[in-house]
Subunit: 217 residues, 2 copies
């Protein structure tokens, strides 16, 4: 594996899988920056350090390349893994019915992920606007599950008498709204953080605080 990386960076020639991966990464970067129709296969080839023909050896069409991104994103870097599956703090807080812990960790987890995978966020938004199926699938496979899961937690806490009787879905939307909108601001409109410069921890803390006071009994 170390040898692979060594080869990768020093020699011009790579194995098929290495090159495929490299083209894929270049495509992710470019599609996320300029959108699908704003990116040319020539640019992708150039960014991958190969000729255009190589792009088409690895991916039948430009569309197929887009689809391959989707699949790779799902399998390798756990974009589709749910917060409660990989965040121990969150799971413990849920068991303990520590509402602040739940919403704080959930928020921090989301904000951190948005921050570290900015290009995926942009890709998602582009694909939503351009109406590729990436966004649709992500919504169906991931977002709706999040609504369900957090919604269930809220229902439970309502039965406990800890939260007011609001539609859980609306509460989830309100909270995700704070989080996603905040990330969107950071990624799209206020990259220099001129309007607001705040750590993810502070943001998560404040949002959780506002929400929980807003819905507690």
């Amino acid at each position: 594996m170390i040898k692979d990386l060594f080869q990768c960076s020093t020699q011009g020639r790579m194995t098929g899988d290495e090159r495929r991966e490299q083209i894929l990464q270049a495509a992710v970067q470019l599609f996320s920056q300029r959108g699908f129709s704003g990116t040319t296969t020539k640019q992708i080839a150039l960014a991958s350090g190969v000729s255009e023909a190589m792009v088409f050896r690895h991916f039948e069409t430009k569309d197929a390349l887009y689809d391959a991104i989707l699949d790779s994103k799902r399998s390798d870097d756990g974009v589709h893994r749910f917060p409660w599956e990989e965040n121990e703090d969150l799971r413990l807080a849920m068991e303990a019915k520590d509402d602040f812990g739940v919403f704080y960790n959930l928020g921090l987890h989301a904000l951190t992920k948005h921050h570290t995978d900015e290009s995926f966020m942009r890709l998602l938004f582009f694909s939503a606007l351009e109406e590729h199926k990436l966004a649709e699938r992500f919504f169906g496979e991931f977002v709706s599950k999040v609504y369900e899961f957090i919604g269930n937690y809220i229902s439970e806490r309502q039965k406990d008498g800890a939260m007011r009787e609001l539609d859980p879905k609306i509460v989830v939307r309100a909270y995700l709204g704070m989080l996603i909108h905040h990330s969107l601001n950071n990624i799209l409109w206020d990259k220099q953080r001129r309007m607001m410069d705040i750590s993810n921890e502070d943001a998560a803390k404040n949002f959780a605080d506002i929400l929980l006071n807003g819905i507690k009994n």
Copy 2:
């Protein structure tokens, strides 16, 4: 004016201004649906019912057409007019320091506007992703003013002792987050309202309710 409309719909030949406006509208529609690079001048010409040459008689380049949209959006249909300038209920509520009235009306106003000008919303997001200057300008001229204005109201109410000492900017971000994210869901991901089907009034009511309970003293 009635004659203008009559001419417009029945005769092939229009005055220059009429045609210009028609091309502009077609471009708004197409750019908002497919983005700038996803739209061709041929498509715009077709949608306007003229030849491509006419598009270039009225607008020097495709880019100039994009800029013209920006300018027209600003001048004619009041996209840049502030809620508190055109919403009497909101203004009255602010004078009366009726917090729920303020945030409810603000929210309803925003959601209604997003709903009726969906294509402008899409245009804004496209331009933010594609990094055209439309989004940047809108952010500088409109969004930042909204933050300032609502932020000031919150500061005032904090001095009155009616609201907790949270950073007003974060509160604004939280609330705008709920509103914009909700509209975004309706426009981009859940057009059929399968996940949540709720009137703008109910949404504004719930969001205002959550926020105000979240920040009250």
